[in-house]
């Protein structure tokens, strides 16, 4: 136990170096001020130690100049921390376009990982080095949090919504994965390993047992099985809006609001279809709450995405289908 213990985590991602640089700056500033204050106090306490019982201190009221000095200097230093921290934060919360997407579902007390090509893992995540990877994460029950210390990345995994995190692994190896939002009895057992592999090795791993179809393929199958295809026709004649090419578009709602057709919107429309009805359509879509798991939701989303993304925001889409359309209140 006392031999060979780590003092500092590994730097296994691009982000790790930027976060560590910020960390060392903060440590340096903190150490400077902590030592300064400690030294001043000890020196003063010794130097001005009371010599006899009747002695009082010198009468000093204050000094506006000093007050300004020790207000403005800390303010300046903290603003540097703020700006630097914000920059790092922006970088860490903006996945680059074209990042490889992997889906993660957290549930008490395991991590279920689905690669787009169909590979599935439990409590393990294999990723290639040198390529941005974006995790799209949902929870089946309570709040969890996905944390890879050696990559310096973390995001809460919250039921009812999707959160993302991204990283670019730089060093092949096996790294800890921890759930880091308390989630019940086996919270401390909800751990696993992230394995970063050189691209060639990663390809080998991928081809060695993906089985079960890609996420989009599974989603397509669900789309048929759950009869989504009966209303969401591609020719625009169906009772539901056209989904082909719609991902990423702006959508005009009945209420006059406009929303983007993203993962969260698709998920919401499957579970609570009444919530955001597209303008010109009637609220007849049944709810699939309880009929699809979180993983199946992700597969359906992957399928809709695969039908084509729009490249720009474009005008509000979806013309009402021909045929009777009931006027809404």
């Amino acid at each position: 136990m006392f031999t060979n213990f780590p003092f500092f985590p590994q730097q296994a991602s691009e982000q790790a170096a930027t976060v560590d640089a910020l960390y060392f700056f903060l440590v340096a500033v903190s150490a400077f001020f902590a030592v300064l204050i400690a030294l001043l106090i000890v020196v003063f306490a010794v130097k001005f130690h009371r010599k006899d019982d009747s002695q009082v201190g010198e009468a000093i009221h204050g000094s506006l100049a000093l007050e300004l000095l020790w207000t403005l200097i800390p303010l300046g230093i903290t603003m540097v921390m703020f700006v630097w921290g914000a920059q790092v934060f922006f970088h860490m919360t903006r996945p680059p376009k074209g990042a490889m997407e992997i889906y993660v579902v957290g549930k008490q007390w395991m991590w279920k990982v689905q690669h787009m090509d169909g590979a599935r893992e439990i409590n393990e995540l294999h990723v290639p080095t040198g390529r941005p990877v974006k995790l799209i994460m949902g929870s089946e029950d309570v709040i969890h949090s996905f944390f890879i210390p050696d990559f310096r990345v973390k995001a809460d995994v919250i039921p009812g919504r999707y959160n993302t995190l991204w990283f670019t692994a730089t060093k092949a190896g096996r790294y800890h994965l921890f759930c880091t939002q308390y989630c019940g009895t086996k919270h401390s057992a909800m751990i696993g390993w992230v394995t970063a592999m050189e691209p060639a090795d990663y390809q080998t791993w991928l081809s060695g047992g993906a089985g079960g179809g890609t996420m989009a393929e599974n989603g397509a199958k669900l789309f048929q099985d759950l009869a989504c295809a009966t209303c969401h026709l591609e020719n625009g004649q169906g009772r539901g809006p056209v989904l082909k090419g719609a991902y990423g578009h702006q959508v005009l709602l009945q209420s006059g609001q406009t929303v983007t057709m993203d993962d969260a919107y698709i998920r919401e429309s499957i579970l609570t279809p009444q919530a955001k009805i597209v303008a010109g359509f009637t609220p007849i879509m049944p709810t699939f709450q309880g009929l699809v798991t979180e993983e199946q939701l992700l597969q359906l989303i992957a399928y809709v995405k695969s039908l084509g993304e729009s490249t720009g925001t474009g005008a509000a889409s979806t013309a009402p289908p021909p045929g009777p359309v009931q006027k809404q209140r």
């Binding site: 213990f5 500033v29 903190s30 003063f44 921290g85 934060f89 401390s188």
Partner: protein
Amino acid sequence: MVSAPPTLNYLNNGYGLKSWLLTKDHKRIALLYLLSITFFFFLGGFFALMIRLELLTPAADLVQPDTYNKLFTMHGVVMVFFFLIPSIPAVLGNFLIPIMIGAKDLAFPRINLASWYIYVLGGLFTIVAAITGGVDTGWTFYAPYSTSASNSHVITAGLGVFITGFSSILTGLNFIVTVHRMRAPGMTWFRLPLFVWAHYATSLIMILGTPVIAITVLLVAVERAFHLGIFDPALGGDPVLFQHLFWFYSHPAVYIMILPAMGVVAELVQAFSRKNIFGYTFVAFSSLAIAIIGFLVWGHHLFVSGQSTYAGLIFSILSFFVAIPSAVKVFNWTATIYKGSVSWDSPMLYAIGFIGLFTIGGLTGLFLATLGMDIHLHDTYFIIAHFHYVMVGGAIFGYLGGLHYWWPKITGRMYPEGWAKFAALNVFVGFNLTFFPQFIVGYLGMPRRYAMYAPEFQVYNVLSTAGATILGVGYLIPMVYFLWSLKHAPLAGDNPWGARGLEWEIPSPPPTENFPATPIVTEATHQYAPSREVGIA
């Protein structure tokens, strides 16, 4: 030669249980609080001991994970709501504020007594929750685990917190009205001791923040009982709304915990340097600034929850702003010691310890306000180390320092100084050994609330547990000599420290009405010598 205390003082003015349990005297109520708070402190400390024993080894071998989860929850609930938040205000604030402003009592003595009974009632609920099986949600009660998934006594514990909140609200209300309306003639706002300023600012937070957690905890209980969909997304609710409502109180709550301790330290630093505080106005206003800005930063607990990046920016910059008044205080306290007549009595040791440890705790808070940094550190042992530095190295050191400083006034007896110095050193060493390694293991990635952990973290946990044992001994020693002093220690006299302040001009222990007649104050009560302004040296 120390004169004997007057024959009639607040301690012997009436005997019997009824005269204590139905008292309206703020000093007796302070002692009632002292008893119950000490009980809860050791209860919370017992849970801490169990946690640290379990964490000696990586496996969950001392207790089951379920039990461990209950231990850290109860440790947090008891320490936060039943020790840290009431401690200094309810014990030292209750005792001293009327005396420091020249009044006979607080504005509402019966409400003061009621606040103690409410505190005890809330405590009973929590003890019942602990005895009948405990709560395992963490003291933060995050939904939907607390509303739907947990099998533990969430409602009972939640009700305990709800009830005790009203004790806090009533204390704050009492202090605010007292400071506004009960000051003796000549006691202007800018002659008030800094202890009073600190408690006034604390009271503002108590009255504005506590009702919000009251309603939040009530909603959790109601949702759990009736399966409503307020916070549980499976029922249509929003779990992040819970976090916002919870932290809207719980962040300002940490300032409830630290501001009174800062007030104590201001008094100690003046008394044991025999010197007026450097920059009185700045220190007084910094308490108000901390209270106000403290209400604007709660979102820094939600940086990784997926809230908007722009919300993150706003909360981050405001979190840096709130650090500035604390820095101002630290510099002013240090400047007060400069050219003072410094004695190293045990209260001063606690004050100096406070300044050093609070500085470290506050600086590590800056790490967490830094957006890019917090992602890595959130929910790791770094956070635990940070808040223990400010809560223990800060608030508890302030409490112990104040307890030692005013013990002779409260009891009329002087505790043994040698033992007190030894205990202070003990606590200082034990504390640092317990919590400094946690910064390191936190950056390594050890998550908090883990019953079992990766083996490479063990060495830091062993150091931490060793420190906790030393710390525990350091807490027990004062218990012994304080109790011993009540019967066997020498009489203290009116002013054993040679300090300034209205409380040192009345007998120890004080008479029930504090002053024979309402004092007329003619100058600031902490003048050690006439003062002059200085520029940069």
